[in-house]
Symmetry: C2
Subunit: 149 residues, 2 copies
Amino acid sequence: MNTRFAVATHILAYLAHSKGQPVSSEVLASSAGTHPVVVRRLMGNLRDAGLVQSQRGAGGGTILARPAAEISLLDVFRAAQEGEPDLFSVNSTNPNENCDLGRVMQETLEGVLGNAIAAMRASLAAVSVEQVMQELAARRPNHCPKAFE
Amino acid sequence: MNTRFAVATHILAYLAHSKGQPVSSEVLASSAGTHPVVVRRLMGNLRDAGLVQSQRGAGGGTILARPAAEISLLDVFRAAQEGEPDLFSVNSTNPNENCDLGRVMQETLEGVLGNAIAAMRASLAAVSVEQVMQELAARRPNHCPKAFE
DNA sequence: TACATTTGTAACAGATTCTGTTACGTATTC
DNA sequence: GAATACGTAACAGAATCTGTTACAAATGTA
């Protein structure tokens, strides 16, 4: 699993914490331990998914497009992985041989994994960004004022 | 997800089908659509996990080390990914800054995903290699004699 | 014994992916 | 008009994955 999901969740939890106040990509990148362009790149996905709104120019930045309680981690996961190869797909080799055993194998495995994938999605859908933000705040009482305040 | 899981399942289903008869890496590779060395490399993992037994020399090859009904896809998954970075781990950046927000975030996300991962493992554990082999056989009545017989 | 077969393993190339970084145009505020 | 901040393209370095070659070791057979 790439870092997109963790960074996106980090960003959204931060935005949930600074209610309404636009946050710049530089501040978010500093908190998430990455580069501002990486944040802005991810932000494109979150914006397309309707999770955040950005504003250019001095004093600009990004805010949540809807209440943090109404953004699930499944929303975040889908937005972060949008346009990427499906993380849950069963990769097989076996291109277009004269035999379709590869395809049947892939379908069989996908059928086997179907229930597990649905369970994972349901688990992500049951947790909101606000819950994550509150758990983070609870677990770090007075640390790192620069990173998450 | 890399192709190891699919190839390993393919190999074991094949071995389950050719009961007791050793199968060479060349035949397995031809069926799985990959290279014999790839099969032998994977076979090292399956051997270490106690799922197969190999024999060198003329007439050698690989056989299942225990009945196919007693090998779950969770066994296969674990063996195939052994030594690889954990597929379910939440990768975050944030090395060793003065602040441990990255670690707390990772722990929080891993806590959130814990139930989903457990559900996925349970789903894999509930399916045996024999079931996969039978489903494959049922879904391809008379095709590809060279690939799976 | 000599030889063919097959595994075990190391080493490397090519492709792909991911992250970080630089660069620059555009929009917005003061 | 200047400073700020986003949006996006482009590229480099690292890492990963798969396929491939090469070769030693083991095993069965003539």
